[in-house]
Symmetry: C2
Amino acid sequence: MGRSSFLKKERQSILMDKLKEDPFLTDEELAEIFSVSIPTIRLDRLELGIPELRERIKNVAEKNHEKVKSLNSKEIVGELVDLTLNQRGISILETDNSMVFEKTKIVRGHFIYSLAESLAIAVIDAQVALVGVANIKYKVPVHSGAKLVARAEVKRKRENNFIVWVNILEKQTEVFRGKFILVSISDKSSNN
Amino acid sequence: MGRSSFLKKERQSILMDKLKEDPFLTDEELAEIFSVSIPTIRLDRLELGIPELRERIKNVAEKNHEKVKSLNSKEIVGELVDLTLNQRGISILETDNSMVFEKTKIVRGHFIYSLAESLAIAVIDAQVALVGVANIKYKVPVHSGAKLVARAEVKRKRENNFIVWVNILEKQTEVFRGKFILVSISDKSSNN
């Protein structure tokens, strides 16, 4: 009892640090890190007042969705958990059965594409941004239930032209990568 | 009266021919061809027992949707009005306000992408076909209400690899083109 409660305090302290580094660790991943059961992690979170992952993502995403200029909040596919306009962004999508081919339970390409396209548009610091060209590659089939993490990086900005790279990971595996060329249209009375 | 009823018979006969050539002419387009009003065309169709365009598309599409192996009928985006497996296909999508960016009323890229991807998969003669690579170009912004006609052509088939080109027209203008590389997976007990 003495030892286990020492371990528990230590674990909870490390758990706080871990979640500060990466706020989107799942209970499953945390359980693996500490070699404890998932219910133990849940209890830890409860005691520490840390909400469940979905709630943590929503909280962070809300603030980022407000930063986006080129899309309305409800037009964003996925939850934006990080965003620096004209530089980079990260969004998360939890896939489910509504997104899969019935026969294979593989997530349909256009849901993955929508996540990537939506993020590529969201990072642009302009009222309107349209995709001109996209070169995309689906590397590994994604199954229902997978949590996809999309990262976008603005690679080049020249006047109103942007090149944005997006890659999407499931756990540590890259499942998709794409290069998007976008054109921004400024708010009003620009030179057109 | 005599002259106008002669004209009407003549018009209705040509109208039948025109719709045999291109069953997807709109009432508006027909009205332009004959320099008459749209209600006149509607009356002609009524007298000739020709259903409205949407109905004509649905009737044709139903038969084509049955031919598709790689997708379930409800998974197809757009109405397939022509399909020859492993060769070519045509599908039609009527865009609406649910598909647009709120700010600009421009149809969101991923709806156009979905039409193209869905058609590229549908033309493949296999139980399962997945997109590996897509290189796509949005050429002209599409507005709500536009009727999009997507054409796919299987350009190359090598074992279980397919290259499919899709282009999408609105009226006579190309608004999108894409090259898709797909991989088919055969039904069962193949060599994997």
